[in-house]
């Protein structure tokens, strides 16, 4: 087989273009931009047996940054496949690609298809990528660029948080309470819940333009009601005003926590007996804190949620989730995320390595969600 492969490679008529990727060989928790390098190379895998992908866009996610810092529990193996001196990995875990060529006989994908990686650690901060197994790619034809580039993490997270832990009764007055109500995931949560017939109480930080932000979350993103962290932590509010907001026979069945600290305890308090709180982030950098009495006497279940682990255990669940989300985008039930995204252009023809590195570093250091868009 080895001999045959070699022969085949020598006989190959296909050739790879020059690859350019953002690689790292080490980690730096203090300043992760220091470990990123732009590197050009020709892949060592055979062009005939590989699917060739051209990158269209990739987000800069917090988990990508945590990987560079060396504080993320899931990391790609570092290899010498990219002809580097030290073993290296391509940064990034999410992105949308266009299929440029497929091996002979590959029926699952066609040239021109838009695809996203099924698994994390694929390496997406690159102009091209290769893939040996079409089963590790998910087609997302028909999505807009920004939705496709971010559906694998934010979209799937929001969808599974809403749908995978509670058997909702859409004829009931059933609620989700969540903090960090302005986050990208939270905005998708409210829309997915609305489509599911589930109401959402979104907690956001106190701010001067509270009314304006609340209005946008309610009118544009389908939050049923937006309250402030001050209200979230106010026992009188919970006793007097909250029941009026929730209405008769309300059941607050699920709490979604991506903040931690006092905020997590306060949303947990709003759950009915035997409710579940799912923690999927920790923006406050405070631990998750819940009153002892909630656990003992109210049957609170405090669990975590991690899309990476869920997908590893059950890859089909992610494929199904993406399909469901694509239908919802197609039906207009979900707003594309473009308005909230800070765009960074990578002009593949014109930008040199220094300019590319600088642009990505700026994306890492800026607040908010950055997506790098490749201009071919």
């Amino acid at each position: 087989m080895q001999a045959l492969n070699t022969t085949k490679r020598l006989m190959s008529t296909k050739q790879f273009p020059l690859f350019k990727s953002l690689l790292y060989s080490s980690h730096d928790p203090a300043d992760c931009t220091q470990v990123l390098k732009v590197h050009s190379y020709t892949p060592k895998v055979g062009a005939d047996e590989s699917i060739l992908l051209r990158t269209l866009a990739f987000p800069i996610n917090p988990s990508d940054i945590n990987q560079l810092q060396g504080v993320y529990p899931s990391v790609p193996e570092k290899t010498l496949d990219y002809s580097t001196e030290k073993p290296a990995a391509i940064a990034g875990n999410e992105g949308v690609f266009e299929v440029m060529s497929v091996p002979q006989g590959e029926r699952r994908l066609a040239v021109g298809d838009w695809v996203i990686p099924l698994y994390s650690n694929t390496g997406t901060w690159t102009n091209y990528q290769t893939c040996r197994d079409a089963g590790t790619l998910v087609k997302v034809n028909g999505l807009d660029l920004y939705t496709a580039a971010t559906i694998a993490v934010n979209g799937c997270t929001a969808y599974q948080l809403v749908n995978d832990y509670v058997q909702w009764d859409p004829s009931g007055n059933e609620w989700i309470v969540q903090n960090a109500g302005t986050s990208a995931v939270s905005k998708i949560v409210t829309q997915v819940a609305q489509a599911r017939g589930v109401k959402t109480l979104s907690v956001i930080r106190d701010r001067e333009n509270f009314a304006e932000v609340a209005k946008e979350l309610e009118e544009r993103y389908g939050a049923t009601k937006v309250i402030s962290e001050t209200q979230n932590n106010d026992k009188d509010f919970s006793k007097d005003e909250l029941p009026v907001i929730l209405g008769p026979n309300a059941r607050v069945r699920l709490a979604l926590n991506s903040v931690g600290g006092k905020s997590s305890g306060a949303i947990a308090r709003k759950l009915e007996r035997d409710g579940t709180m799912l923690t999927y982030g920790g923006m406050s950098r405070q631990p998750v804190t819940v009153p002892t009495t909630l656990l003992i006497f109210n049957g609170l279940k405090s669990l975590g949620y991690w899309i990476t682990e869920n997908t590893k255990r059950n890859p089909q669940s992610k494929i199904d989730t993406i399909s469901a989300l694509m239908r919802m985008y197609g039906d207009g039930q979900l707003q594309p995320p473009e308005a909230d995204i800070k765009k960074i252009e990578w002009d593949v023809q014109k930008m040199n390595d220094e300019q590319l590195l600088e642009a990505v570093k700026n994306g890492i250091q800026s607040n908010g969600k950055s997506v790098v868009v490749l201009k071919w």
Copy 2:
């Protein structure tokens, strides 16, 4: 039927003795001893249809005190059955009784049987009690007085904590980590676990006689290893010394928390992936605090445990638990709790109401586990 019952009562040959109970009609969170009153009465229920019970001993549990304070979520209904001016309830939830008489045809119980109530809120701080349904009593013949008086809460809690949440593999090197290692429940946990082939790491507060206390917990109560809270919170200890203590291929599968605060986070950190932490108490009065990363990346499940709710949902589970514990006491696998108990005597013949009330108040205000023993 009503007429028949009345006739029957008039024809009754049986008569109740004079009942004397510790009752409360109100609550006081600041000083709950103020709401307790000693009251004598003849029950309104018919003596012929009732099982008459004589109290042998009852503990003063934290949950009994919380009920008097009005801060416990499960409370008995207050009634006028005891011929009080205001509706009242008998204090206490646990205790051991001797059967004095049974209605004609009652086969499940015999005079002289020792029994404990299946459910909470039965009212045990009394010299006599009545019962209409033998199915709400569990026979505990053969147990010593102190074990019988405390098996329903501490014993059942410890047994179910160990056995109901993890499918243990006794051939593996499997561990429970728990804080408050000197508590009555923790001491039963270590013995139940030892009998089950499960190892225990018990965390206790730092103290001058640490070595002495640790030795007793290990040698007398079967703890595999006792460590201090300082060690529990020390990351170097967890990295360097703990693996040596646990040994090869160790799996720390269950954490039992009755402290809260930092201690709860520190025992949760010692769990393997997808481990469970059960909270059943909160001695530090701090909320349960766990690192966000444990929930998201380590699959930590943080749940609560409450024997009262478990029994309400599945009464048979408590009956089965008591049977299992009785076998273990019979086999000598469990140490009776007498050594740790502060005894308070209620001399039924000699003590007046003031003396009784004073004795019980002292029990409420003292540290440690008090059991009131009735001298007949």
